[in-house]
């Protein structure tokens, strides 16, 4: 990954009348980076994506995509390097999958030979010549993803790519995202499926009421917000007492019926705590570790009303 940002937003705002859909956003996404944009419905995610795509113009601020402003006349030429999957797209049902991909690949002047491998990649080879009207929702979404991959884009922007998909289709989508990222493309993904994103992304940007309330890698955000890892240990009663006696500062709760003791610690102290527990010499029956999920991080950052007070931008 080099350090020149592929997407750069400096103090970007978009106003509709008096309402700010997006406000004072500073964001830089590097080449080969995968950034997830998360936020409640109406938080401004789609507006931000439209700004990045040059579909709408910012009221304030500077925007640079691959070193160019989307408002610049030459930007149209750069569009062939951008792949986009909208949140909802209904392709014409009387066309076949192949006709759809051929149409979009011609608009990008992409090589015709690219189409077949794309069908293979999204697992639609058998349905390539069927009409879209016969496609299931998952198939349509995968076709949309194939469309976004035409011309081997340098920037891939996906708006809710897995919404409404079954687990198998989700896996296909995620493995493609991994491939694209590994090939050096910048991936910008907006999603609600936080749990699934957790270990697939480099950084997360959390939006609330049009503002960026957190930006950084997930671990750093976890640390920053003080969410704890929970270590749940099943031991006999005597060992449970011993455990609690040894780690009073970490004690979280005890379940007598299940014979479990829960200890809470900072994410980064987890390994040390585990080592100390093992050194106690007690007989462990079972051990479970729960790290705070991206979902918890997200909830923590967005549950406060005063967004400006909570603004915590990390550079991880």
């Amino acid at each position: 990954m080099d350090n020149i940002p592929t997407i750069r937003l400096d103090n970007i705002s978009k106003q509709y009348g008096k309402h700010f859909a997006v406000r004072d956003i500073d964001l830089a996404i590097g080449q080969g980076e995968c950034l997830a944009l998360v936020g409640h419905n109406g938080a401004g995610k789609t507006t931000l994506i439209k700004l990045v795509l040059g579909l709408i113009q910012p009221t304030n601020g500077q925007l640079s995509i691959m070193g160019n402003s989307p408002q610049h006349a030459n930007f149209n030429q750069l569009r062939k390097d951008i792949g986009f999957l909208p949140e909802q797209v209904l392709f014409q049902t009387n066309m076949t999958g192949r006709e759809i991909l051929t149409f979009y690949s011609r608009l990008k002047n992409a090589n015709k030979t690219e189409i077949e491998p794309l069908f293979e990649r999204v697992d639609l080879c058998d349905a390539a010549d069927d009409k879209i009207s016969t496609y299931s929702k998952g198939m349509r979404q995968r076709l949309g993803l194939a469309q976004a991959l035409i011309g081997q884009p340098k920037i891939l922007i996906l708006d809710e790519p897995t919404s409404g998909l079954d687990p198998l289709s989700r896996q296909t989508v995620y493995s493609i995202i991994d491939e694209v990222k590994n090939a050096g493309a910048t991936v910008f993904i907006s999603s609600h499926a936080l749990t699934e994103l957790d270990d697939r992304i480099d950084r997360v940007a959390i939006m609330n009421q049009g503002q960026l309330v957190a930006l950084g890698n997930v671990d750093a955000l976890r640390e920053n917000i003080g969410l704890k890892s929970i270590v749940k240990i099943r031991v006999n009663q005597a060992d449970a007492n011993k455990l609690i006696g040894h780690f009073p500062a970490f004690f979280d709760n005890r379940n007598e019926q299940k014979n479990t003791v829960s200890l809470a610690c900072n994410v980064k102290d987890k390994v040390h705590l585990l080592r100390d527990i093992l050194m106690l010499g007690i007989q462990l029956q079972n051990i479970e570790i729960d790290d705070p999920s991206l979902e918890q991080v997200f909830m923590k950052y967005t549950q406060h009303d005063e967004v400006t007070q909570k603004k915590a931008v990390l550079h991880g």
């Binding site: 986009f84 909208p86 209904l90 608009l107 002047n109």
Partner: protein, 277 residues
């Protein structure tokens, strides 16, 4: 240009596959044939050519029918794509908003031209073969003028349709406005003009002003162009009495119609550029 061509191919195939063209062609041919044979029946063996009668009847039919078809083809083209989400997608591709309008326009005009050419052409041929005395060259000339000017009339209302489609937020509003526009141009405008004339008993409005007010409406320009295309059509349509000073050159009529194509088309491109996606 190859991007516009890609869009033209896609839109044309879409229109052909929707059976739009087949349907319109059949309806047009049916109406044209009915009008032609019914219209020429009372003439018997008079000197008036049946094709001239057909031109007069068909141009009256076209004034109602072609604007309606063109508006139906165009009203949905931008706003429909916006609702389906494909407009956003299209705009992310390296194609400009003007190219989108032009591509759609050429494709729709192509579809409309096929329908007009086949529909009216079928009627013309049927009459030609059934006529007793055969046709004179100027009959054909009037007929070809009818077909070409009908295509231009279609182009006018396609352009107007794109303005509506680029400007509104949902399809049902676009459909309602399209029907409203159709009513105004085809019916209400002339009725309004007549009402003004009737009220203007002191003749404040000069004949010249009324003439130009009428010809500003592209459907009236179209009517004038076809009804005065030959002596026979002028005679049949009652235009023969028009004094020389009140006739308008074909060039001027053509210019009015051409402006009605170009200006709304440019306006549609302008509106689409400013449209919030």
């Amino acid at each position: 240009m190859d991007k516009v061509w890609t869009l033209i191919l896609k839109e044309s195939r879409d229109g052909l596959r929707n059976r739009w063209v087949v349907m319109i062609t059949l309806v047009m041919a049916l109406l044209a044939l009915t009008l032609s044979f019914l219209g020429s029946a009372p003439l018997g063996t008079t000197s008036v050519s049946p094709l001239a009668v057909t031109v007069v009847s068909l141009s009256s039919l076209s004034i109602f029918f072609i604007p309606l078809i063109a508006l139906l083809l165009a009203y949905d083209s931008i706003v429909g794509e916006a609702e389906r989400g494909t407009l956003t997608l299209l705009l992310v591709y390296p194609i400009s908003r003007n190219q989108i309008i032009i591509g759609k326009f050429i494709a729709h005009l192509f579809l409309l031209s096929i329908a007009i050419f086949l529909g009216y052409g079928a009627a013309g041929l049927a009459i030609a073969f059934s006529a007793e005395n055969g046709f004179l060259a100027h009959d054909w000339q009037s007929f070809i003028r009818l077909i070409l000017s009908s295509i231009v009339l279609g182009a006018v209302f396609l352009s107007v349709g794109y303005v509506i489609s680029a400007a509104v937020k949902d399809r049902s509003t676009a459909a309602a406005i399209a029907i409203g526009i159709w009513l105004v141009f085809v019916l209400l405008y002339d009725m309004g003009l007549l009402a003004i004339l009737a009220a203007d008993s002191e003749q404040i409005m000069s004949g010249e002003l009324v003439k130009w007010l009428m010809l500003i409406n592209p459907t009236d320009s179209y009517r004038m162009y076809n009804l005065t295309s030959s002596n026979e059509t002028a005679l049949l349509s009652g235009m023969a009495g028009l004094s020389a000073e009140h006739t308008v050159s074909n060039l001027m009529l053509g210019l009015i119609m051409a402006l009605w194509v170009v200006i709304p088309l440019g306006l549609a491109g302008f509106i689409l550029k400013r449209r919030q996606i």
